[in-house]
Symmetry: C2
Subunit: 474 residues, 2 copies
C-alpha cells in the first residue's frame, strides 16, 4: 500500500512535470485554487505540496503573485523539507543528551548557540527586580504568604487584557498561574491524559515537550510539520483516523525548533478538526509575543468555541526565565487543572507575579516587546546569513518570522552529535537534532539560538561552518 500522503504524491507529480519541461523555468505553476479544483484536493494539501517543492528548490513563491518554477533550481539556500516522521507512536528517550546540554547551559564560557534562552541584556531584569523590591517593602510580612491557585489576581487581569492581542477573549477567571510554561503543559497533559495514552504533536518538537511526555508515560505521535506553516493538517487528520489520539500539542506561533507560524486559516481548521473528534488541543504559545510582523499572530485558542483548547505560556522567552512564572487558560478543564496545580506545587511564588503584573500594567512589557522583536529579527537575520555564508553547500536553513531559533539541515549524512562535540571543544554550544524527535529522526540537523549576536558570534559561525565541512559535509 502507498503510505505516502496526498501532498507528497502531488508534489512528485508536479516535480516530474518540471523536470520534463512541461513547466518551464520562470513560468508560473497552476494557482493553488485551480489545482485543488482540478485534482479534487483541499487547498491545504496543494499548499503543502507546493511547500515541499519550494523546499526542494524546484519552485519559488513571489509575493502577491503565486508560485513559479525556479530559474536556477537548488542555487538558493532552501528551507528544510516538510518533515516526514514515522506515523507510529514512539516511546520517548532523550534523557542522557539533555543532561549533557544542561551542563552546557550552565557553562558561562561557551558561546550560547545551544539552549533556547533569550538575551539576558534584553531581559529587563533590573526593572523587574526593582519593582519586586518596592512591592516587598510595601507589603511587609504579607509578601511571604502563599498565593494559592488560581494565582495572583492582578497578574491574571493583565494577562487576560493582553490576550486580546492574540485574538483571545479571556477573563482573569479563565487563567491559572504556574511555575513556568513547563508546569502549565505538564498539568494540562495530566488533566486530559492517562499513562499509555497517545499525544499527537509537531515534528520536530522541542525536547522539553518530549521529556514531559516521557516522564508522564505518554506516547508521542509525531506529525509532519512544515518549516513555515506548521503541522500538516492532512497528516494530522490521517493520524487521528488511525490512532487513539487523546490530545494534540502544538506550538502554533514560532515552533521550537522550526520557527513555523501556522496561518490563521490553518489554526481555525486545526481547532475544528480536533473539536469534531472531541480531542483537546494543548497550545504552547510561549513565543507568540515575539513575531516580527506588525500584528501579533492570533493563538489557535482564539478559534476555540468548545473550551477544548488549553493555552499555555510564560515570560521565560519574552522576558526571562528566572522568575518561573507562566500561565494556562485550560478552557473546560479549568477546575481539574487548578486542582493539579495545587497538588503539584501548591502555589506559584508570590512576589515575582506581583512584579510582573505591575510591569505589564505600567506599559513596560509592551515597550519591551517592541525592542525585543526588532533585536531578535536582526540577530536571527545575522545568524541566518552567517549560516549561508560559512556552512558548506547543500545545507538548508529555516526563515522564521518570529522567535529567536534557527533550524539547520546539514549536508546528508552529517552527524550533528559529532558536530556538537567538536563545537563544544571550540567553546561553542549548539543543540544537535537528535533531541527533537522520539524516533531519532533529525541526526543531520542542528538548532541554533539566535538571541544574541556580536563579533564573537561571527567567529563561532565561521568555526561551526568549518567543522561541518571537516565532518564531510558539502
Amino acid at each position: 500500500m502507498d503510505r505516502r500522503l496526498k501532498y507528497e504524491r502531488l508534489a512528485e507529480e508536479i516535480a516530474h512535470l518540471i523536470r520534463s519541461g512541461t513547466y518551464q523555468p520562470g513560468a508560473p505553476v497552476p494557482s493553488v485554487r485551480t489545482l485543488a479544483g482540478q485534482k479534487g484536493l483541499s487547498v491545504s494539501t496543494v499548499l503543502q505540496a507546493y511547500y515541499l517543492l519550494e523546499a526542494q528548490g524546484l519552485i519559488q513563491v513571489r509575493a502577491r503573485s503565486g508560485f513559479y518554477v525556479s530559474l536556477a533550481p537548488r542555487m538558493a539556500t532552501p528551507e528544510p523539507d516538510i518533515s516526514t516522521p514515522a506515523l507510529d507512536p514512539a516511546k520517548v528517550s532523550v534523557r542522557e543528551l539533555v543532561t549533557m546540554l544542561l551542563q552546557d547551559a550552565l557553562n558561562p564560557d561557551l558561546i550560547p548557540l545551544g539552549a533556547a534562552y533569550p538575551d539576558p541584556d534584553l531581559s529587563e531584569a533590573g526593572k523587574l527586580n526593582r519593582l519586586m523590591a518596592a512591592i516587598a517593602r510595601d507589603m511587609g510580612n504579607r509578601s511571604g504568604r502563599y498565593d494559592m491557585p488560581p494565582g495572583c489576581e492582578p497578574l491574571r487581569v493583565q494577562i487576560a487584557r493582553r490576550a486580546a492581542a492574540g485574538g483571545m477573549d479571556l477573563a482573569p477567571g479563565d487563567l491559572i498561574t504556574t511555575c513556568g510554561c513547563t508546569e502549565a503543559v505538564n498539568i494540562c497533559l495530566r488533566a486530559v491524559c492517562q499513562p499509555g495514552d497517545t499525544v499527537a504533536l509537531e515534528s520536530p518538537i522541542c525536547m522539553d515537550t518530549l521529556q514531559a511526555l516521557e516522564t508522564l508515560g505518554l506516547r508521542a505521535l509525531e506529525i509532519p510539520t512544515h518549516p513555515r506553516d506548521g503541522i500538516s493538517l492532512e497528516a494530522l487528520t490521517f493520524a487521528l483516523d488511525n490512532n487513539p489520539v487523546r490530545a494534540c500539542l502544538v506550538i502554533s506561533n514560532f515552533n521550537n525548533p522550526l520557527g513555523s507560524l501556522m496561518p490563521e486559516a490553518h489554526k481555525k481548521e486545526l481547532v475544528e478538526i480536533l473539536a469534531r473528534r472531541g480531542v483537546p488541543l494543548i497550545e504552547n504559545d510561549i513565543f507568540g509575543d515575539l513575531g516580527f510582523g506588525e500584528q501579533r499572530p492570533p493563538a489557535a485558542k482564539a478559534f476555540d468555541r468548545r473550551g477544548l483548547v488549553m493555552l499555555c505560556s510564560s515570560f521565560s522567552k519574552s522576558l526571562f526565565p528566572g522568575f518561573r512564572v507562566g500561565w494556562t487558560a485550560p478552557g473546560r478543564f479549568l477546575s481539574r487543572v487548578e486542582w493539579l496545580k495545587y497538588t503539584t506545587t501548591t502555589a506559584t511564588a508570590t512576589l515575582p507575579q506581583l512584579a510582573l503584573a505591575e510591569f505589564m500594567a505600567g506599559g513596560g512589557f509592551q515597550q519591551h516587546l517592541r525592542r525585543a522583536r526588532k533585536a531578535y529579527a536582526q540577530r536571527l537575520g545575522s545568524i541566518r546569513q552567517a549560516v549561508i555564508r560559512h556552512f558548506p553547500k547543500g545545507i538548508r536553513v529555516t526563515r522564521p518570522a518570529g522567535g529567536f531559533l534557527l533550524w539547520v539541515q546539514l549536508p546528508p549524512g552529517t552527524d550533528s552529535l559529532e558536530l556538537y562535540k567538536r563545537a563544544l571543544a571550540s567553546g561553542i554550544a549548539i543543540t544537535p537534532g537528535h533531541l527533537f524527535s522520539a524516533s531519532d529522526r533529525y541526526r543531520d540537523f542542528i538548532r541554533l539560538n539566535a538571541a544574541q549576536w556580536s563579533e564573537e558570534w561571527d567567529w563561532a559561525m565561521r568555526r561551526l561552518g568549518r567543522l561541518t565541512v571537516e565532518l564531510g559535509g558539502g
Copy 2:
C-alpha cells in the same frame, strides 16, 4: 479471625487488670521491658499498648519513673487514642473540601485557625526581601537566568551543612532544590511509584499528601499512628506483610496534624523494616526544625544506610511559603528525581534561593529558629489550654513537642464539618477532620493552627467551644 493488633489485645488485658483492681490507682504497672519479656512481645508493642491505655486515661506516665495507674481516670484531658484506620488501601477523594478551605485561607477577615500557615510576623520576610533586592542589584541581568537542576549551589551547601543538626551526613551533591516541599514529595512519589501502586502512610495525615496520591493515581494505605510516637511499626509491618506496598511516606518529626514525634529508636527501626523489604521511605521533614526541645530531633534519613530514604522539606513552615523553595535528598533515586524536577517545572526561581542561601550563611536562619520555636511553644500551649478550658468535657487534645498544630477529638458523634461551617459564620477558620483520611475516618476531629495568639484568638476559642456544645457535644 481476631483482626486486632497485638498491642490492642495487650492494652485490653491490662485495662481489665486495672478495672478489676489487680493494679491499684497510683501503683506502678510493670515496666515496659519486664512486660515485653514476660509476654514475648517487642518493647515497641508494649509501649504502644501503654500509650493506648494512657490515651484512655487509665494510666499515666511519670518522668524518669515509668507508667502508673491513674489516680482519677478520665479526669485529665487525654490525648486522642492511637488511630485505627481501616487496613485496606482506599482511593482518595478530598477535593471539594480542600477547595473550600483554600477560599478560607485567602480570606483575611477570618481568624486563621484553619490552614497550617506559620505566623507572618515571625517570617523574616523583610530581611529576606532586602537580601533578595541586594543580590538582584549585584547580579544585574544574570539574575534572570534559569537555575537548572539540581538547583542553586550556595543554597545546597547551606542545607547540607544544616542537615548535620538533623543527624544527617549530606553533601550539596545529594540535594535537589524544588518549588516547595509539595513538588519534592510529588517527584519522589513519581520516581518510585506507578499509578495504581499502594503507599503506606500515617493516619491521620495532612490533606496535601492525600491529594498528591489521588492525582498521581496512587492508593493510600493508612497505618495506625500514635499522637506522641508516630506511626505504629507493628501495624506497618503487618501492612507490609499483607499488601503490595511500593513506598512508605511519613512525617516523622511533628506530623501534620498529630504533632507526633517518632523516638529515635523507632525511626531507626522504621528505616530497617523498610530496608529489609527494599521499600523506599519518603520522609517529609518540613516541621523538623520547629521542635521545642534543646536538640533538633534527627530525621529518619539519619539512619539510612542503603539510600532508600528520600528526605523532603522546605522553608514554608519554618520561615514562610511565598518564596516556594524546598528541597529533597532522594538517596539512590537522585538522578531520576532530578530528571523529574527538570521535566515538571524546569527550574526553581533563582533569586529566592540565593536570598535564602545568604540568610542561612549569615546565621539569620538559626537565630530565627530559636525565636520561632519559643513563640510556637508558647502559643501552642495557650491554644491547648483554651481548648481544655472552653470545650465541653469528653474532648481529647494532642500535646505536641514541636510545630504549631493541634489535633482535637470532639465528643463522640460531633460533626466537625458542621462545626467548621458554624465557625466560618462566626469569622473563624478551622480544618475539619474529614480532610485527614482517605476513608473519612476523622469526622469528629478538628485541626487547629496554633501559630498565632492574641485576645482575639481567646475569643475565637471560647466561641468554638460554645459552638461545639451547641452541636450536642459534652
